[in-house]
Amino acid sequence: MAVGKFGPASGVFLVDGYNMLSNKITAMREKATSQLTDTTGIGDTFYETAPTGLTSVEVTQEGAFFDTTANYSHAALSGSVPSSPQATARVLCVGFAGQTVGYPMVGFQGTYSQDYEVVAEMGNLQKANVTYAMTGQRDAGVILQPLAAQTDSWDTTSTPVDNSASTSDGGVGYIQCTAASGFSGFVGKVRHSSDDVTYSDLLSFTDDVSAPFAERVTVSGTVNRYLSFTGIITGTGSITVFCGFSRG
């Protein structure tokens, strides 16, 4: 991974298969907070705190255009504020270092669009701001497949992510598909290898060609040193897919 600073062009923001950057957001923020408790006691000369083990995460996007074009902000956000306890959680992936294999991404489980704010003001286009709240967990990982259009089955074994060693606590895969047309089948897979010679399936995402869609799949056990992504396509057409993976 390139080491250094990154600018606005390096943002990644995908929610349920919607590429939120298409809406020209002007700010995005991921904030993880650890709850601390006061542990100061008599005899201490300085306030002390200790983590309780509870964390919370909030992701916000600001300044997006309110756009009713198909697959833009209105389609992505209207009706997404939960109206019942049974509301479906969203799948969210963010990144701050660009769309490149091996670069960091963060996926979120149990994501809800807590606040959806549409703003109209004189002399400006209507804007839409969103705050996402998480009820599950935060999975920090790496990009295996940058968001890109594909027209045939493909794999990234030529550019796998090398973790230098295997890990033993499973992992989590995220897929985001922003566009699909023509194909009758598409299965995304994460494959792993201990030697960069033979790759085997680690996890498979659900066969789906109804973009936009997103999915989070967990796997247990050993995750080998090398990770790659494979897209297996049936039929003729085009599909635009992103995949990230977080080791446990």
Binding site: P160, D162, R191, S194, D196, V197, T198, Y226
Partner: protein, 78 residues
Amino acid sequence: MGKLRATVDLVYPTPASLKVVLAAGGISKLTPEQRAKVSLKTVKAGKFCDDLPAESRDALIKRGAVEEVTARSGKAKA
């Protein structure tokens, strides 16, 4: 030794391409020219994979991605 059967989908170089891959140090180390000439074989779960690279065999068996089966019964060895 019995036959080898994949329990998950596998992708590995064909015997003719294996030497090139090993000399390069892995699939990701191949140059674009080498990559264009190398053939990778996909074996679906449940199919036999006796031409699996010897270098990968033990690790795949150990983690259950490949199982040894007796030739006659087709059952996995205990």
